[in-house]
Amino acid sequence: MADDRLLRETADAVLALDEPWPALVEAGLAGVGVPEEAGGSGGDLADAAVLLRAQGYHGAAVPLAETLLAGRLLAAAALPVPPGPLTVVPGRSARRVPWARRAHRLVVLDGDRVAVVAPDDVETVPGTNVAGEPRDDVTVRGELAAVPCPVTAGDVALRGALLRSVQLTGAMRRALELTVRHAGEREQFGRPVGRFQAVRQQLAELAGEAAVADVAVRAALRTPGDVFAVAAAKLNASRAAGAVADLAHQVHGAIGVTSEHPLGALTTRLWAWRDEFGGEAHWARRLGELGRVPWEEVTRTGGPPPEGATVW
């Protein structure tokens, strides 16, 4: 994508809509990050991240990350990417598959093979996360017309963690903005509550957690195949999500816990996304395993992905 600012502005305008999906498709944004040869709109992971941040920021209910993940997976397996919303099912039977019941096609990973499946060919038990987004248990019926695939379920889990991290940082940025604004507008005891030092300290705390997560996720986006970097990014994003949601609600007072208020669309996503593709504890264990020689590991990242990592 040539023009980062144009992409940002378009993404921002479209994702602020009530029903963004048709406009995303029309603007060609649903395929950003998927190679044109495969049927996508081109652009790299950094471009896709611009969209995902905007999606998080607006708390938009669209399967952008899922469609991106599925599209890149198909492109890696040299399969054409079908139109419409997609999602990856990491196995013949998988739990809490995001957006499965709304997907136009499901991309099923079965060991080292992959197949594109229509909704009619799977059994779906619906579930939702606390933000109301579909998270369905999926079982594939019958035989799969699968082809070899270089991307593993582990790769999908790692990439999913990175994409959720990006979405989280978008949502946290907006939660901070709403909270700062509210603290400046809401008056008690004859002045804006944001004049009280206790409240100001909470806002600084909120900003700090969000800022560190943001920088970590931006760094990890440069080495998306590096397990240590992505694990650290998701760990920080998930940790920050909880802190940001708590502080944002505290500063908002009761108005923040009403369904009309925009804060809820963000905090419910923070609570859901922080656990999806692994929460803090999951990635902490991975980091503990990987980091027995910690300084070398901490400073190594930022370079090229380790030997043998799948580039996709």
Binding site: R200, V215, A231, G288, P294
Partner: protein, 418 residues
């Protein structure tokens, strides 16, 4: 204002090559790794060794004895030294902030006098900001600066010796210099420069406290009130006083374990020279604080314990620390990159210090849980010694360089709340 978008800096290949050199040196160097080595681990000989290797004054220009390298190269060198727990306290303040500050505000003569010696690891500095009644409210400092001459107060010698235009002739290289060249403190009065003899035209009276390393320092930079009547921030200037000096008394203030790292420094009409412009002290100090707040020393003070926990008891707890450390380092790198581009990311620097120093504390609790030792400063077990150092220095982590409450105040102000 919204949250800034900090892009982490990418380290250039030359920085990574430098890292390998420093690691090679550290693997062979002999010292006991410690916690908080950048404030309490002073070893002048080690500092000179680093100077000889070209690892001090890295970003200073070559004509002033520096190495003309980038801020990111400096970042790599200092993070390696800190992670190893190397004894870097003696030169820390000179290398981190007085070098850049003298370069930005000093006269050509001051630069020639101090910068090459800083880069050699032979000139250590102390920071004279805090006073008994001026802590967080730094602008309330009472140390007075009075002129001793009516004429303009630039310390630059203009009569006795001709002033070469900047840049000045390069200092002799290491190879040309005899190894035992005396440092400033060892020189006879006849060898002192004119600025020193005249005291630079000012006298200081007042008391500074918590002055780290003043007992080892060859000079101290003092924030003092130069115009009594001016409003709080305007009447402040920075001064340099070489140590030891007439009219300056340095007394130890013992830390919690009886250790001597900070001091009370009393100025009783001590001769001083101006650093930078008169009345610009507040601006200069604020700029220094961005360097002071965002570096890797704000999250690596207890790294020796992280290393231990990760190797002895790897698991979710060690992983949590590593993930946090990785992110804080990226944030610190991002600030370093912004500073190198000439930006002054005050909010981000404050955030790095607030979160980084709290991480240093978190490390202690994980180490207490995972290492199965009690802190003991004289134990034969290095884990117990490291833990003791960390526990006792920990209160300082979130105080020095601006308390975390003050830092959060800075962040809230930058967010334009209310």
């Amino acid at each position: 204002m919204a949250l800034p978008e900090l892009e982490p800096a990418v380290l250039p290949p030359e920085a990574e090559r430098l890292r390998e050199e420093v690691r090679g040196f550290l693997a062979a160097a002999r010292f006991e790794p410690r916690c908080d080595s950048w404030l309490t681990g002073a070893d002048p000989a080690f500092s000179r060794e680093l100077g000889a290797r070209g690892w001090l004054g890295i970003t200073l220009p070559v004509e002033y004895g520096g190495h003309g390298r980038s801020a990111l190269e400096r970042f790599v060198v200092i993070e390696e030294l800190l992670a190893a727990g190397a004894p870097v306290a003696a030169h820390w303040i000179a290398d981190r902030q007085m070098g850049p500050s003298l370069l930005a505000h000093g006269t050509p003569e001051q630069k020639r006098r101090f910068l090459p010696a800083i880069a050699r690891g032979e000139c250590f500095f102390a920071i004279g900001m805090s006073e008994p009644d001026a802590g967080s409210d730094l602008a309330s400092v009472r140390t007075r600066a009075e002129r001793t001459r009516a004429e303009p107060t630039r310390a630059e010698p203009t009569r006795a010796e001709p002033t070469p235009a900047e840049p000045t002739p390069a200092e002799p290289t290491r190879a040309e210099r005899t190894p035992a060249e005396p440092t400033r403190a060892e020189r006879t009065p006849a060898e002192r420069t004119r600025a020193e003899r005249d005291g630079g035209g000012w006298r200081l009276t007042g008391t500074k406290v918590w002055t780290s390393g003043a007992h080892l320092a060859h000079a101290i930079v003092v924030l003092a009130r130069s115009t009594p009547s001016a409003t709080r921030h305007d009447g402040l200037s920075q001064f340099v006083v070489e140590l030891p000096s007439d009219g300056v008394t340095v007394r130890p203030i013992r830390g919690l374990s009886g250790e001597h790292h900070f001091n009370e420094v009393v100025f009783d009409g001590a001769p001083a020279e101006l650093l930078g412009a008169e009345g610009a002290g507040w601006r200069q100090v604020t700029a220094e604080l961005a360097y002071e707040r965002s570096g890797p020393e704000r999250f690596l003070s207890t790294f020796a314990l992280v290393r231990l926990v990760c190797s002895v008891a790897p698991g979710a707890a060690s992983g949590r620390l590593l993930g946090r450390l990785w992110a804080l380092r990226q944030a610190s790198l991002a600030v370093a990159g912004a500073l190198a581009e000439g930006r002054a990311p005050e909010l981000e620097a404050a955030l790095v210090k607030d979160l980084g120093t709290r991480f240093e504390r978190e490390v202690i609790d994980v180490a207490r849980d995972r290492l199965g030792v009690e802190p003991d400063p004289v134990s034969p077990d290095p884990a117990a010694r490291l833990l003791a150092q960390a526990v006792v220095q920990a209160p300082g982590f979130t105080l020095r360089g601006g308390t975390n409450e003050i830092l959060r105040g800075i962040v809230a102000r930058a967010l334009e709340v209310g």
